[in-house]
């Protein structure tokens, strides 16, 4: 049995193989991270008979979107572009304006002076015929309003530019100043076709 000489394997094509694989993975890779607007749904109430909670009219900011994707805010037609500004004005409130929500003096941990927190609730109602794109647009504006105010509060009370840059406790304090209160009513079908 003659031993055969084992020749060295030519590694010259190694680079080509590697390139081939590389190109395959380059093509199949999707770098996109999933992003979106995070929301919390309300739990289904235990009891069937829900009594309407009396809320002072000045404390609600009613946003209606109809089947034609048009906006009605507190009974007035509005463009989506103006919604953010209006929402900010509403959430922030003003003690001298009787049309804006009531303010409540609240003591918050981590902030020495008492803070006035608006009692406003944003009520969002859409039609079954509203397009999803418009719905998200409106949601986005409302969330943006809260985020802008929270950034402002972060600057005012903690001297940081962004709410995201605060630590856990400070974020909680800011959340208490501007609690996100967006309530979504049960859907109505008023716009005709589904």
């Amino acid at each position: 049995m003659a031993k055969r000489e084992v020749g060295e394997i030519n590694a010259g094509s190694m680079a080509d193989i590697a390139f081939l694989l590389l190109i395959f993975f380059l093509v199949t890779t999707t770098m996109d991270v999933d992003t979106g607007i995070a929301r919390q749904l309300p739990p289904i109430p235990e009891k069937k008979d829900i009594t309407d909670i009396e809320i002072n009219k000045r404390n609600v900011f009613i946003v209606l979107i109809n089947a034609q994707d048009r906006l009605l805010v507190n009974g007035k037609l509005m463009n989506v572009e103006d919604l953010r500004e209006k929402a900010i004005e509403f959430i922030k409130s003003d003690p001298n304006n009787p049309n804006l929500p009531e303010l409540e003096e609240v003591k918050i941990d981590g902030i020495n002076k008492p803070v006035y927190v608006g009692k406003g609730v944003i009520s969002l109602q859409n039609d079954r015929g509203t397009t999803y794109g418009r719905y998200i647009e409106v949601q986005n504006e409302l969330v943006a309003a809260y985020n802008i105010l929270r950034d402002e509060a972060a600057m005012e009370y903690f001297g940081k530019e962004k709410y995201d840059k605060l630590d856990e406790k400070q974020q909680e304090a800011v959340r208490k100043i501007y609690p996100q209160r967006i309530s979504e009513a049960e859907p109505k079908n008023v716009g005709g076709k589904k």
Partner: protein, 157 residues
């Protein structure tokens, strides 16, 4: 100028390509590790540009705890069977509204009990879809008490 003279004399040497495979392998491994293969085959028309745009978006964290619900028009080759009205897709099959409840329960059963409160449902919905179907889905999710949701959206540029 001695400096320049010396330069002229030097013969050009070819760059050694011996380390090229190593470099390529390095890049290769990088891509292999970062690649996420699409697990579900979409049966509805939904590309990234079909998602709504938003500015106030957050990254979806802990992908292993996310269940996806897709809504949109069926693709061309499924339209004969399923029509052109927006449909729901769970995993890789079309589903009815009533299937969502069980889908959520099944997803929940797969996870560790301690992780269940952190589970999120990502709604990937075509932006031209009517809200009716989305509202119905939200109701179903509430019934299944999967309350953490994420409206999938693209970053507005």
């Amino acid at each position: 100028m001695a400096k320049f003279n010396r330069k002229k004399k030097k013969a050009s040497v070819g760059i050694s390509t011996a380390s090229l495979p190593d470099i390529v392998f390095m890049i290769l491994f990088f891509f292999m590790v970062t690649t996420v293969m699409r697990e579900v085959e979409l049966k509805i028309e939904l590309t990234n540009s079909d998602l709504p745009d938003a500015t106030e978006i957050k990254k979806l964290e802990k992908k292993s705890l996310v269940s996806y619900i897709y809504v949109g028009k069926p693709r061309k080759n499924f339209q004969r069977m399923y029509g052109t009205e927006p449909r729901i897709q769970l995993n890789s099959a079309f589903a009815e509204l009533s299937d969502i409840y069980e889908y959520i329960l099944a997803e929940r059963a797969q996870r560790d009990e301690a992780e269940v409160p952190y589970m999120t449902t990502s709604l990937k919905v075509h932006k031209d879809t009517k809200m009716g179907i989305v509202t119905d889905i939200k109701q179903e999710l509430r019934k299944a008490s999967a309350l953490k949701i994420n409206y999938s959206a693209r970053k507005e540029i």
